[in-house]
């Protein structure tokens, strides 16, 4: 019997040793914790932060506001809004008459052939702001040479005479002024989306006769969405950064030697042909004195019957590291992201990023999509997403300015509605900050 007891004791010992003493019964280790930047649990709701106001004159048809631009067009010290109505081929103006007060909307130019981008510059050095209009003619997919670059010459009283700078060319979607060849007059950088064929080009102001420009192609690829201009390498010559969508999904930097001769460099590219590049803008995001590039990918048009969101849609930035170097950083997720801008929305001294969103949930009837997202910078380049609004839907263009005389930035947005149901729409909207408790 003692032997049996010994055996039983041994068994018990073995059991105890195996199951307990050697860790077999211990709790499993903790799983990985959520990352601070992880948006899996959703952004912060900040729907009360801004109050909205519809500006201008609503029409009968769903609006096609392709671009809004905050600018003091009449140079009276108050920021106005110039915008493109692509459906009616119009460029229009909403003038701020006193802080927060606006004159009735005015037509600046008709017959603009599908205008999709407006910029202002004193092109003829006469002391007033002229307008540069990039026109696609046909907004939907089309490879025809139907693009037009317009200049609207200001007579000083905000009466504009249109001049065609370039036509019968691949569709133009963006046009920015700068003196690329250092000859004292303003030239133009062009994003020519085209469709299957397209270009990034610049128009040299020849000065030979009024409004005579010579086109120079600097990149032979389709899908240019934006060109932005700044002195990115600090050599006092304006350089160009261009965003290419379509199957390329690349960002190019064109370093200007000062004579209009550009050295091309691809600074980033995605192998995801459905990345959905939708916009870039320039801002010194990290406040290091060098202009950075903010970039959105949210174009949800693709091989499905309707457009829609992708998990990778969002906002990112290219940190300008100097001497033509750029470093990619993801900011956050935003389905259907468009028109990213740098703006210190909460006036805390750190540059934030705001982006609009469109076509991200066509099938949904609950309208739980995000239309405007604020990525708040904590000052250390960590961005916390805040939903500013969920309605109206389908905002594709965004800008900011002082629209209430306080110096605080307000946002302006434009809605572009091409897919039914035609509800929850907004044409030109002003978003001013509410007083914070």
């Amino acid at each position: 019997m003692p032997a049996l007891r010994s055996i039983l004791s041994a068994v018990c010992f073995l059991l105890a040793a195996m199951l307990g003493g050697l860790g077999g019964c211990s709790k499993p280790p903790p799983r990985l914790a959520a990352q601070p930047a992880d948006q899996s649990f959703g952004p912060i709701e900040a729907l009360e932060r801004l109050q909205s106001q519809e500006l201008g004159t609503p029409g009968e048809l769903p609006p096609w506001i392709a671009h809004v631009k905050a600018i003091d067009l009449d140079r009276d010290g108050l920021t106005d809004i110039v915008f493109c109505e692509a459906q009616f081929n119009e460029v229009r103006w909403i003038r701020q008459t006193s802080p927060g007060k606006f004159a009735p909307e005015a037509l600046l130019a008709a017959d603009m052939r599908g205008p999709v981008h407006a910029e202002a510059a004193d092109m003829d050095s006469d002391g007033d702001l002229d307008l540069l209009i990039a026109s696609m003619s046909v907004v939907f997919p089309n490879n025809d040479r139907v693009g037009t670059a317009f200049l609207l010459e200001n007579d000083g009283q905000q009466n504009f005479t249109p001049h065609i700078l370039l036509e019968n060319t691949t569709r133009i979607v963006d046009m920015r002024p700068a003196d690329f060849d250092d000859d004292g007059d303003l030239d133009l950088a062009l994003a020519q989306f085209g469709y299957d064929q397209g270009e990034v080009a610049w128009l040299e102001n020849t000065g030979q006769s009024p409004w005579h420009f010579q086109r120079h192609v600097i990149l032979d690829l389709s899908g240019a969405v934006n060109v932005v201009v700044d002195d990115f390498n600090g050599d006092r010559h304006p350089d160009i950064v261009a965003l290419l969508s379509q199957q390329w999904e690349e960002v190019f930097y064109f370093q200007n030697s000062g004579s209009g001769s550009f050295t091309r460099q691809r600074i980033w590219g995605s192998t995801n042909e459905d990345y959905g590049s939708s916009g870039i803008s320039v801002t010194d995001l990290n406040r290091d004195g060098r202009p950075d590039v903010v970039y959105s990918n949210g174009d949800g048009f693709g091989p499905a019957a309707t457009p829609g969101p992708r998990p990778w849609h969002g906002v990112q930035w290219f940190e300008n590291t100097g001497n033509g170097g750029f470093r990619y950083h993801r900011i956050g997720t935003l389905p259907g992201a468009y028109s990213p801008i740098g703006v210190d929305l909460d006036q805390d001294g750190a540059m934030d990023v705001v982006a609009a969103a469109a076509y991200s949930d066509w099938n949904s009837k609950n309208r739980h999509v995000i239309s405007l997202m604020w990525f708040r910078n904590d000052g250390k380049m960590n961005f916390e997403p805040h939903v500013l609004t969920r309605t109206p839907k389908d905002l594709i263009t965004l800008d900011y300015g002082d629209f209430d005389g306080t110096g605080r930035p307000s946002l302006i947005t434009g809605g572009f509605y091409i897919y039914p149901p035609f509800d929850a729409m907004g044409r030109v909207m002003l978003w001013t900050p509410r007083a914070q408790p």
Binding site: P30, D196, L221
Partner: protein, 479 residues
Amino acid sequence: MKKRAPILIASGILIIGLIGFGAWWQSATKARDAVVMRLPPVPDLTSAPPALVERISIADTAATSRRDPVAGLIELSRLYHANGYLDAASITYEALAELRPEAARWPHLHATIRAGYGQAAAAIALWQRTIELAPDYLPARLRYADLLLKDNQTAAAETAYLAALEIDSNNPYALLGLARIDFEAENWNDARRRLEKVVGQTNYTLGYDLIVTLYERLGLDARAEAIRGQSRASGAYRDPEDPWLDEILPDSYDPFMLALEAGTKARRGNPVAAIQLLEQAIAVAPTDLSAHFQLANLHREQRNIDQARDYYRRCTQLDPEFADGWAQLSDLHAKTSNPSAAIRVLEAGLEACPDSPGLHLMKARRQRAVGEYGPALTSYRKSISLRPNEPDAYLELGIALIDFDRRELGISNIRAALETDPANPTALGILAFNAIELGNQTEANAMLTRIAAQPVFERPRFDQLKTVYAQKFGTEWSQ
């Protein structure tokens, strides 16, 4: 002694069994712990379909159990990746790469996510690992080469494309990548050699974009224009097939992602797979209008008329305000010799969608076809008022008015069409012919100049116009 023997034997067996069990228990615990410590937090599944939530829950439980936790982890990776929880999917792939380092699939799938988010350095490293483990898996080689090119590592990209060609000597994506390198280096002849091979193999679905520019650069304008003239908007490019990525699709509960993949498959010439994916989309989201409509269109393209009709009909039931459903159903009836059904559906559609420009245009066409000219003009005008920026209604109204001898009004509508679509071949042709006929040489010159600039205008028709021009004005037209 005899009495004790069975006890001793039983005890021995018990001890051995216990040792065996203990060893398994320890090993299973270790395996479980190895998985658990690498498990991502379960993402927010608030808006996920219940079936997916349940599957994730089961897989998560399996991954934290002692019975094959890696299988649970694999299941989680598929579910997360296929349903757009890509942060979580990335973490699972990292874990699998550590736990199953011999498998090439995990770094590859992980690389597709990283590259999809633009994280080039991470993706390049993952694809390098994939290629080490599975040197013959071509999609990894192609994506790796593409990413090197996009990362400005041109020489490495060239080497990677050439390595892909060693596996598949005519692979069009590898050739296209090399052609792009040639193109950027302005090695036009090499680019041409490769691009001509690519477009020849793929019937211009690949390389269409670059070869036109290349021909223009080489001064081969006629060739460039001929290719441009093939299509007003091609956009045919699609990424290469990736079977490992496709294998996770059956685990998707996201109808939109399934619809996207279906669209891609259809464009790659695989309608059967596309139909399967759309059926899967509808199975997980039975009221998804977009998937129904896409499936109906696909069936129609495949001439599966009955199925197309059923799905269009379902669209009109799911959302009676969806005008395209009515329009397509009516059109299908008309094209399948069922005019009374076509009319009935069209009227029902207009009742449900009174502001649909497309349905009013269809009505105008039908009215015109049966000789109801007055009502047809009204319907055309209604369509134009609802959608003033598209050419079709203007054009057809203009042509109808010209037919009724209201030429001036008709021409003004054709001009309106041209404003909305400045290269519209029909409008350009009518206006050019009208100007020639009226003896308006200035306008005729302007129109012919515009036609000459647009390769989509058929060249034989252009030649006819030039002949008529010469007859009218007694001189050859020249730019």
